[in-house]
């Protein structure tokens, strides 16, 4: 693997936007891509020398990144039209010119940066936590959880709130109340926890309200684009069952 041998140039077409309410515009850049380069590494190179294809010097492109290994969720954007983390989008596997756009469904801050605050508000709305008495040791041994249950739960605990699933979901929109697939999956996770389930009813009621589970239209794009392969639609099915039972309880009384 000699770096020199694999050098090639690629064209990036980037949808830019200077401010939240400014008009978007497109710019093209031609860059040299090293072997193994990914979209984030190209954007990092671009910061040093931000000159368009036509030779115009422009402000560096704003974008987000942290971990560079697909675990922090910061760098999600539309790459050739599909939402995905930019750090794991290898140039060699993308069709050129590569089109980069900010992640849809979220307000643009600048260029490829968006404001995903809504996702975190939604996590609050569905009470995606286990309510503990306090963060101290109460000397009680961890409850038993079968390896099978663990394996199922673990899948959901890897959600990095990147927002790709939200971007791809036709039911999520900046003018819509729908909390979206990722927070729903967290409800599934918390409801399965040995003590998290004490608040199951409350969480279910939260997702039975406006903007909750019912707003999912089963398009299932979410599960297709999730970079962490989180079984979102399984969660949605399981929550369907939980809410059905919950509604029966609500209608006919508990026991």
């Amino acid at each position: 693997m000699h770096a020199e041998a694999n050098r090639q140039t690629v064209e990036l077409r980037i949808r830019r936007q200077d401010r939240p309410n400014a008009a978007p515009y497109w710019q093209s850049f031609v860059l040299e891509a090293r072997a193994g380069a990914n979209v984030v590494s190209l954007l990092m190179d671009l910061r040093e020398h931000c000159v368009t294809k036509d030779g115009e010097r422009v402000d560096p492109v704003a974008f987000e990144h942290n971990c560079m290994e697909e675990v922090c969720g910061a760098c999600a954007m539309l790459i050739n039209g599909l939402p995905r983390p930019a750090c794991s989008a290898l140039i060699a596997e993308l069709e050129a010119p590569i089109r980069l756009e900010p992640l849809p469904k979220f307000p643009v801050v600048r260029d490829l940066m968006v404001d995903r605050a809504r996702m975190f508000e939604h996590l609050k709305q569905v009470k995606a936590w286990v309510r503990i008495d306090g963060a101290w040791d109460n000397h009680e041994r961890a409850p038993r959880i079968s390896p099978q249950d663990w394996a199922a739960n673990y899948l959901y605990s890897r959600c990095m709130s990147c927002g790709c699933c939200m971007a791809a979901c036709p039911q999520v929109g900046s003018d819509q109340a729908f909390v979206g697939p990722a927070p729903l999956a967290q409800v599934r996770l918390m409801n399965a926890h040995p003590t998290g389930r004490y608040d199951k009813t409350e969480r279910l009621h939260a997702i039975m309200a406006e903007g909750g589970l019912s707003d999912c239209g089963n398009a299932q794009n979410c599960v297709r684009v999730c970079p962490k392969a989180i079984p979102l639609t399984t969660a949605i099915g399981e929550l369907g069952r939980q809410t059905t039972l919950q509604a029966l309880k609500d209608l006919f009384g508990n026991d």
Binding site: M1, H2, A3, D18, R34, G36, N38, V40, S41, M44, R47, E48, H49, C50, R57, D59, P60, A62, E64, N66, C67, M68, E69, E70, V71, C72, G73, A74, L90, R110, M113, R116, F120, L123, K124, K127, A128, W129, V130, R131, A135, W136, D137, N138, H139, E140, A142, R144, I145, S146, P147, W150, A151, Y154, S157, R158, M160, S161, L189, H193
Partner: protein, 636 residues
């Protein structure tokens, strides 16, 4: 909220900062939590392998005492022992608390907490959640803090960058100045106490680091430049097993070796065969060869240097000495292990390797090399020793206090627990534990505080925020041809070659002068960006400047320490263990004496203080009350 509730600022929402936030909010104080971005994207999310705590789940008679000894020895006795003792004692309780928060720790077939082996120890002591432990732990506390947010006890200031603390005439910290990373507004915030939990500084070695791009150390550097002491800066850990990349070197967790992964190179450096076609007899398992007792799970400093030696000195890297880039690689092999087992326990790193290297570690050995990973050094913090129990005194306001009253530090940005080398899976522990301790200490500090920040004159805050706004102006004005991103790259290259795995005084001197020159080049800075909205170049330029300042501390501290200890390795001062000799052999005993004599000179904490001309280095003694340095580290 009680009448005695006070306002605290926590900077950083990694494990350290979130735990401090939890402890403070539970003590009834109002917390304002600052972070460069949504806290759940903090670097802690990258930690893969696990977190240490003695639960003795594996019938190995593990004990807290052994955890303490391993940690002390792993750090070459350089860490103060009372904090280590308390941390190890509290570790099991911390795991139980994480577990209650809903962290998905991996389970045994019986449904109990599973534990695995990590480097530098002989017991399975590491709790883990697949290979994404840091992510799971971080989310666990993040969820709790989000709950407290809905209860109005915590207010998050995400997308705000900490720039400096505000001190009153008595030198007491009364608040901070921060910048909104979107509007670039610079504003002062009052606080009765400030906790800094800004994480590591691996970006000083970029791109050859496993750290997130925000692990710059800039925040720690800023308080250092305002008078906080910085300790043991020369101790920086290079992780032996990272996959090379031009933008970042991605970690392949130590758990890969803990679970049975083997490190090797072809005996014949010119061997061009596919690795799996090379027969056992033609492979050199150098770690197992050189350290038969610990084998592949020797501590990181030792493994990193062994790989260094094999590739750089013996020319045995994959493909041989003339293989260009790849001469710097050795194999980390998982292919002999059960595929199912590996997939469930290491799935996260398998997918990283597949995605970024395009190869499947289940099919072919991974190619790895050491990369900058973790800062043992950090802001100097105090502790109060418990005279009866020996550990840290619980709830003492001195614990995790920096030398600036009212300013506390915890997490990777402090120096407290790891001495000269950190054991794997001990830093998720120290980050969480120190966060909680710092929170409790601040609560005690506040209860003894007569006057809060409300009494501090407004002029203090105005002056400091004006100073910071002026600095922004200064950085923004084009003054030459120096690009901040290029300066960062040069810093990384310089530090990697001259303040890296192996050190030499002449090179360190050269590094120091290069760093001074690098600092001066900021006089000719040109951001080449004029936007007044979300200007990332400005924020980055300021960070790089402060990183250069911190790099000077690292180089100067390394220059000052003429010995080999843990991660700090100067071959000119190596007291090599006599080969084939063990305790009792006269040669070994003679070595032990030399080792002790060296300890008499060098077993002390390096403490740097800021001075405009360059760091002032001093030393202070280490508390060795629990385990006297009688046993040299020996992992053979």
């Amino acid at each position: 909220m009680s009448a005695s509730a006070r306002q605290v600022i926590v900077i950083g929402g990694g494990l350290g900062g979130l735990w401090a936030t939890l402890a403070l909010a539970e003590a009834g104080h109002r917390v304002m939590l600052f972070s460069l971005f949504e806290v759940m994207r903090s670097h802690s999310a990258c930690a893969q392998g696990g977190i240490n705590a003695v639960l003795d789940m594996k019938g190995q008679h593990d004990s807290v005492q052994q955890h303490i000894v391993d940690t002390i020895k792993g750090g070459s006795y350089l860490a103060n022992q009372p904090p280590i003792q308390s941390m190890c004692e509290d570790a099991p309780g911390l795991i139980r608390t994480f577990e209650r928060m809903g962290v998905t720790f991996s389970r045994t077939p019986e449904g109990l907490l599973d534990q695995r082996l990590f480097g530098g120890v002989k017991h399975k002591r590491t709790c883990f959640a697949g290979a994404s432990t840091g992510q799971q732990l971080l989310y666990g506390v993040d969820q709790q803090v989000r709950r407290l947010e809905t209860e109005g006890k915590v207010e998050k200031q995400e997308w705000w960058e900490f720039l400096s603390i505000v001190k009153d005439v008595d030198g007491v910290c009364r608040g901070i100045v921060a910048m909104d990373l979107r509007s670039l507004e610079v504003r002062a915030f009052r606080a009765d106490a400030v906790v800094l939990a800004s994480g590591g500084l691996g970006q000083i070695y970029a791109p050859k680091t496993t750290c997130s791009t925000n692990s710059t150390g800039a925040a720690a550097s800023r308080v250092y430049q305002q008078g906080a002491r910085f300790a043991n800066a020369e101790f920086f850990q290079f992780h032996p097993t990272a996959m090379l990349g031009e933008d970042k070197t991605r970690l392949m967790t130590e758990a890969a070796r803990g679970e049975g992964g083997r490190v090797w190179v072809p005996k014949d450096p010119g061997d061009r065969r596919e690795p799996l076609r090379i027969p056992e007899s033609e492979r050199f398992y150098f770690l197992e060869d050189w350290y038969p007792s610990y084998g592949n799970t020797v501590p990181r400093d030792i493994a990193a240097r062994a790989i260094w030696k094999v590739t750089r000195e013996l020319g045995l890297g994959v493909g041989g000495a003339d293989a260009g880039e790849s001469r710097d690689r050795v194999y980390l092999d998982l292919t002999h292990l059960d595929r199912n087992f590996v997939s469930t326990r290491l799935g996260a790193i398998l997918s990283i390797y597949r995605k970024f290297a395009g190869q499947d570690p289940l099919e072919t050995p991974m190619e790895i090399f050491p990369a900058a990973h973790y800062a043992m050094g950090g802001l100097w913090v105090d502790y109060e020793k418990d005279p009866t129990r020996g550990g840290m005194k619980a709830g003492s306001p001195r614990n995790h206090a920096t030398n600036i009253p009212g300013l506390y530090a915890c997490g990777e940005c402090d120096y407290a627990y790891h001495g000269a080398n950190r054991l794997g899976a001990n830093s998720l522990l120290s980050a969480s534990y120190s966060g909680r301790v710092a929170g409790e200490a601040v609560a005690s500090y506040l209860s003894g505080l007569e006057q809060g920040a409300e009494a501090a004159p407004a002029a203090l805050f105005e002056t400091e925020s004006r100073r910071q706004a002026d600095l922004n102006q200064q950085f923004s004005r084009p003054r030459g041809d120096q690009n901040p991103f290029r300066l960062h790259r040069e810093l990384g290259a310089l530090m990697t070659t001259q303040v890296g795995v192996v050190r030499d005084n002449a090179e360190l001197d050269a590094a120091l002068s290069s760093l001074r020159e690098l600092e001066q080049r900021f006089e000719r800075l040109d951001l080449s960006e004029s936007s007044r909205w979300a200007n990332q170049s400005l924020a980055h330029a300021r960070q790089v400047f402060d990183m250069v300042k911190l790099a000077q501390v690292m180089a100067a501290s390394a220059r000052a320490r003429d010995e080999c200890r843990g991660a700090h390795f100067k071959p000119a001062f190596d007291l090599a263990i006599p080969q084939g000799k063990f305790p009792g052999d006269p040669e070994f005993e003679a070595y032990r004496e030399r080792w002790k004599a060296n300890n008499a000179d060098w077993l002390k904490t390096t403490v740097a203080e800021y001075h405009p001309d360059g760091p002032r280095i001093a030393f202070e003694p280490v508390d060795l009350g629990l385990l006297a340095p009688e046993q040299p580290r020996d992992y053979r």
